[in-house]
């Protein structure tokens, strides 16, 4: 891979996401931050399974000249990523619906307008 660009991207994405979750006051931005962290982790998983010039790991109609299994990308990280994406969608939907409810009650998206203190 060119200069490990995917891994650097992973680190950047996770750092940006953590920054957003920790220092942003807008609730929607916190939700966006979590989604960015999740994209970073998913990218990391996919990068792990990458093989240079590899093909999809499907045995039917295999093109000639492909080494099995060295010429194929790893299927397991892709399965993990799919599961993680599905879970991520559920969490994001739940989080946004909570934010909606909180906006209805507080008339504000600022996390400093919270009610539970001490």
């Amino acid at each position: 891979m060119i200069w490990n660009v995917p891994f650097i991207t992973v680190a950047l994405l996770i750092a940006i996401g953590l920054y957003a979750v920790m220092f942003k006051r807008n609730l929607i931005k916190i939700a966006i931050g979590i989604t960015i962290i999740e994209s970073g982790v998913n990218l990391f998983l996919i990068t792990l399974g990458y093989r240079k010039g590899g093909i999809a790991p499907i045995y039917t109609n295999l093109p000639s000249g492909v080494k099995v299994p060295e010429g194929m990308v790893l299927p397991v990280p892709q399965a993990l990523t799919l599961t993680s994406i599905v879970i991520g969608v559920a969490v994001l939907a739940l989080m946004l619906s909570f934010i909606m409810k909180m906006y209805q009650h507080n008339k504000s998206l600022d996390s400093h307008s919270r009610r539970l203190k001490g």
Partner: protein, 513 residues
């Protein structure tokens, strides 16, 4: 014995299936729905007792999903191919806690949750939560652990926000953010393992573990994530908010859910890394987490006016005891002192897990009973409830004495083990533990006095029968454990502690040899 090798799979599958049948039965009749849910929870309790009995007498149980012979793991070139459930003493022990608390919470909710506001969905989420907890403690596969962790946190958040107050939604949002970040840390650590060993099975990774630089990063991520989820002190801020705003029965479940994360922390420290890592350092780190949680938890609890918030801070402080006990065990792992008092400390810490789930569950349920009748959680508005809510006040006294460690209740038995063993390591640990115990008693005397004592101020009735029955389940366990601590320690707690220590038994059950 009527034992079947499919029991581990049924235990996880049954509540998942029942969760989605519940709304259908709800269409026919509300009473049938209640009976169905309670029946399912009772069957779960029965099955987990059978399974735990089998594990405690015959050793580790393996169930391979989808294999012809589920008790044998199919290995291909030393890689276990399918998802494996692996139930050792510790997992069975945690399963017992989850099922017992779920049964008490289910019975309690019949009267506690009012009809009409989507109660069928409430039970659906409750059953999914139980399935998540059981899956988390039974699984032998790291990615599966991540999936069940997410199932558990999504179901819990839905339940915390069940009443849709502004407070409840805020508590649920905090919990969701914290648990989702924790879960993503776990997923990142899993990816680090997969990158190095091409494995996802816990036993297989533990077998192949080299303790490289990447493994150290994974260890830090996993410990941080699970400590965050179990509410240890630097990351405890979510616990009081979500514990105090959730419906009381769910708070009791949340206590058990936090302990499932605690289980995952112990599993990572002992089984995945064990003697490979610098267990002195990690042991000291866990002891410091424990001491901080104990002390800060109890001092934050003292000035609280909201009864459930006060109890939530106590939950943080009690988690400290478990971390302290098991941390001392980890610190001494491998030294000659381990067999003398290290194992005692671990037994104390692990015994405290089940004790805490029982009495803290009971206390939250009594707080829920007060809220049900009075409509407030503010201690200043309570008073004289002991005149009419007689059973509730008796349950509260039992729970309060148990949490403060007064004999003959169960808290005393586990705290004594922790005091004795920690004293050998450093007297300061025991002194802090006893001080925290005294402060706990002080703050519960405050609650008892302001809620139950004094002249009659409110014209309230005793809590409904189903709520009293739910509390009775937990009270029975507390008194039983308090009266026969020796039997419980030698038959249930000791196998659980040994299951954590004997790393090779866990590995060999999957890898053979």
């Amino acid at each position: 014995m009527i034992y079947n090798e499919a029991i581990p799979a049924i235990l996880i599958g049954l509540p998942l299936l029942a969760a989605f049948i519940t709304p259908i039965i709800n269409l026919a009749s509300k009473k049938a729905r209640n009976a169905f849910v309670i029946a399912i929870l009772a069957i779960e309790e029965l099955l987990i007792i059978l399974l735990a009995w089998h594990v405690f007498t015959n050793g580790i149980v393996i169930y391979t999903m989808g294999a012809k012979n589920p008790s044998i793991v199919p290995l291909q070139a030393a890689v276990p191919v399918r998802i494996v459930l692996e139930i050792d003493g510790m997992a069975a022990f945690m399963g017992l806690i989850s099922c017992t608390v779920a049964m008490a919470a289910g019975i309690y909710s019949i009267a506690f949750i009012k009809e009409g506001n989507g109660k069928a969905r409430y039970y659906t989420l409750l059953l999914i939560m139980l399935a998540g907890m059981l899956g988390m403690v039974f699984t032998g596969d790291l990615f599966n652990l991540f999936v069940f962790l997410e199932i558990l946190s999504i179901a819990s958040c839905g339940l915390i926000a069940y009443r849709q107050h502004a407070d409840a939604v805020e508590g649920a949002f905090k919990y969701l953010v914290v648990s989702n970040i924790a879960a993503l840390f776990v997923l990142f650590a899993i990816a680090l393992f997969y990158a190095q060993y091409d494995l996802l099975n816990i036993a297989a990774i533990a077998n192949a573990m080299q303790y490289t630089q990447l493994d150290k990063i994974a260890l830090a991520l996993l410990v941080a994530a699970f400590a965050m989820k179990c509410g240890a002190v630097p990351m405890h801020f979510w616990a009081p908010d979500s514990y105090s705003t959730a419906p009381a029965a769910i708070t009791a479940m949340l206590v058990a859910a936090s302990q499932a994360s605690l289980y995952a922390l112990f599993r990572v420290c002992f089984t995945l890394y064990g003697s490979l890592m610098n267990y002195h350092m990690i042991g000291i780190a866990i002891i410091i987490f424990g001491l901080l949680s104990m002390f800060i938890g109890v001092t934050m609890a003292l000035p609280q006016k909201d009864i459930k918030r006060l109890m939530a801070y106590h939950a943080i402080s009690q988690t400290g005891y478990m971390l302290l006990g098991v941390g001392v065990g980890l610190y001494l792992l491998g030294s000659s002192d381990f067999n003398v008092y290290g194992i005692k400390a671990m037994e104390g810490g692990i015994f405290h897990i089940i004790n805490h789930a029982m009495y803290k569950g009971l206390l939250f349920l009594t707080a829920g009973a007060i809220y049900y009748r009075l409509g407030t959680r503010n201690l200043n508005e309570m008073g004289g409830l002991g005149h009419t809510m007689k059973f509730t006040s008796i349950y509260f006294i039992i729970g309060a004495l148990a949490i403060a460690g007064i004999p003959p209740f169960n808290g005393f038995a586990s705290k004594l083990l922790i005091y004795e063993a920690c004293y050998k390591v450093s007297p300061i640990l025991s002194i802090v533990a006893m001080l925290v115990s005294v402060l706990t008693l002080a703050s519960f005397i405050k609650v008892f006095h302001s809620a139950f004592m004094g002249p009659k101020m409110h014209d309230v009735k005793e809590a409904p029968k189903s709520m009293l029955a739910g509390m009775a389940v937990l009270t029975f366990v507390i008194i039983f454990f308090g009266l026969f601590p020796g039997w419980v320690v030698s038959h249930i707690v000791h196998p659980a502690a040994m299951a954590l220590v004997e790393k090779m038994a866990y590995i060999n059950a999957v890898m053979g040899g």
